[in-house]
């Protein structure tokens, strides 16, 4: 292992050892901070009880659905607003009003509109990733080099529709994908928030565990979310590098 690898491993080990030491030395009761050594047993109980797989699959379902819808909608709206000035003006105040409202604030409406259902969770996640993708795509599509637009016109690709696929989307792909990547993380946060009010999934299981003061189980699900996010991000980066392989 190189120096960089050693330092990263050392950092992680120090963190875990420190964490283990605090409850063991009695600085904090183990109930308030379960030591990492207690986690494998808690994890095993969750798996053998069938809760872990069930919760993870539910959450993955909400995540995938919400992410696809929110990203698709955000990118489409962002690119459209960047290309059509009238749409941009039309939306400007609507977006100023809606954008600062956090996803959690929509929970009452999600329940009223969709009930305690998959659709409600999906809705919260859509809200959670919509604006990130909207602004990233809007900015990227606005910043497309005007010289490339002129090139397209010089060779007969006139009008926004004819320039969208050959010029605008590839030229803004890098910026759009940066927004999508931020959304990947944001969507996991939204998943937990959406499930806290009773929709089956990781969030709901965490809520149940915390009301029973099973803090070790809470930590198991925190780690589950972190690992899920890490894996989605790795897959995404791999995919992005293939899509943008034309870049140096």
């Amino acid at each position: 292992m190189n120096r960089r690898g050693w330092l990263a491993a050392a950092g992680l080990a120090t963190f875990l050892l420190g964490w283990e030491a605090v409850p063991r030395l009695g600085l904090v009761p183990a109930l308030l901070l379960p030591p990492p050594s207690s986690l494998p047993a808690a994890f095993w109980r969750e798996i053998t009880g069938g809760w872990w797989l069930d919760a993870t699959l539910h959450s993955l379902g909400h995540y995938t659905m919400g992410l696809l819808l929110g990203t698709g909608l955000g990118v489409a709206l962002g690119v459209a607003a960047a290309l059509w000035n009238d749409l941009d003006r039309f939306l400007s105040w609507v977006i100023r009003l809606l954008r600062p409202v956090p996803g959690l604030a929509w929970v009452p409406f999600a329940i009223v509109w969709f009930g305690i259902s998959e659709a409600a969770a999906t809705f919260i996640i859509v809200i959670g990733v919509l604006w990130i993708n909207f602004y990233a795509s809007y900015g990227a599509a606005r910043a497309v080099d005007k010289d490339l637009i002129e090139l397209a016109e010089a060779f007969g690709h006139k009008g926004v529709w004819r320039q969208l696929v050959p010029i605008v989307l590839p030229a803004s792909a890098s910026g759009i994908l940066a927004g999508v990547r931020t959304g990947l993380g944001q969507a996991w946060m939204a998943v937990v928030a959406a499930e806290l009010f009773g929709i089956p999934g990781l969030g709901q299981r965490m809520m149940q565990a915390s009301s029973l003061l099973a803090t070790d189980v809470v930590v198991v699900y925190m780690i589950t979310i972190a690992v899920c996010y890490g894996l989605t991000d790795i897959v995404f980066v791999w995919l992005r590098d293939r899509i943008l392989s034309w870049q140096r």
Binding site: D147, L148, L151, A154, W246, R248
Partner: protein
């Protein structure tokens, strides 16, 4: 000789400002090579864009009395910088110009490889733009325009950003392509040596604001031209004094 394009009384300006170009009238003969020179700001590049139909003139007309042909573009523009699409291969970049023409996919491919052969870069068809040198990218810029078989090829200082050796090579290449394709060329440059080396006819623009044609003269030197010859130096000198007259007249720069 047949006229390829008639440009009459063109005036060009932006918004409500004074005209950049006040009056431009010229007829270009088929297979001729015309250079336009003049100080920066007289609207040379803008003139090419108006002819290409990318900008509307304030006054005047550009008429091209040739048969409309769905497999050709009347005008094609070669940009100052190569302006290649970085997400497309070299072949893809040449095809980009052909996509709006009524050609089958096979015909487009055939045309693209034809011009890539012509500029000597057929082996680079599947490379990315960043893998090419500046001179090679400029050849693709040229190939993309030639692929649409334009009646008039418009070049906007295409060699100005290249080093002297590459520039001279590409000037020779352009003359070879001009002969090979029988196209008509309108070439904007600020390099007097380049204008005399390449063109049959040099149009000098000057006067600001509101530039017009100051001189319009023929370059009857035999080809291939020798930059070291007395006749060559004499023509460059004439051109230089025409330009310094504009400056001295207080209308310059």
């Amino acid at each position: 000789m047949a006229t390829v394009v008639d440009i009459a009384g063109l005036a060009i300006g932006f918004d409500n400002g004074p005209p950049v170009l006040a009056d431009f009238t010229a007829s270009l003969e088929a297979r001729s090579f015309t250079a336009i020179v003049g100080p920066s700001g007289v609207g040379k590049s803008t003139l090419l864009r108006v002819i290409a139909g990318l900008l509307a003139p304030r006054e005047g007309t550009v008429s091209a009395p040739f048969e409309p042909d769905p497999g050709r573009r009347p005008f094609a523009l070669v940009f100052q910088e190569a302006r290649l699409l970085p997400w497309r291969s070299i072949l893809g970049n040449v095809l980009f110009g052909l996509e709006r023409l009524h050609l089958s996919a096979g015909e487009r491919r055939h045309r693209a490889f034809e011009v890539l052969e012509l500029v000597g870069l057929a082996d680079y068809a599947h490379r990315w733009p960043y893998q090419l040198s500046g001179g090679q990218r400029q050849r693709i810029n040229l190939a993309r325009a030639l692929a649409v078989h334009p009646a008039l090829l418009l070049l906007d200082e295409p060699f100005s950003a290249l080093d002297a050796i590459t520039r001279h090579t590409l000037q020779g290449e352009l003359l070879r392509l001009w002969h090979a394709t029988h196209t008509t060329i309108l070439f904007v440059t600020h390099d007097l040596d380049e204008a005399v080396y390449l063109a049959d006819r040099v149009i000098v623009l000057g006067g600001q604001p509101g530039a017009r044609i100051i001189r319009d003269f023929l370059v009857p030197l035999a080809r291939p031209r020798d930059r070291g010859s007395v006749g060559f130096a004499d023509h460059v000198h004439q051109l230089r004094s025409a330009l310094s007259d504009i400056m001295a007249g207080g209308e310059g720069i």
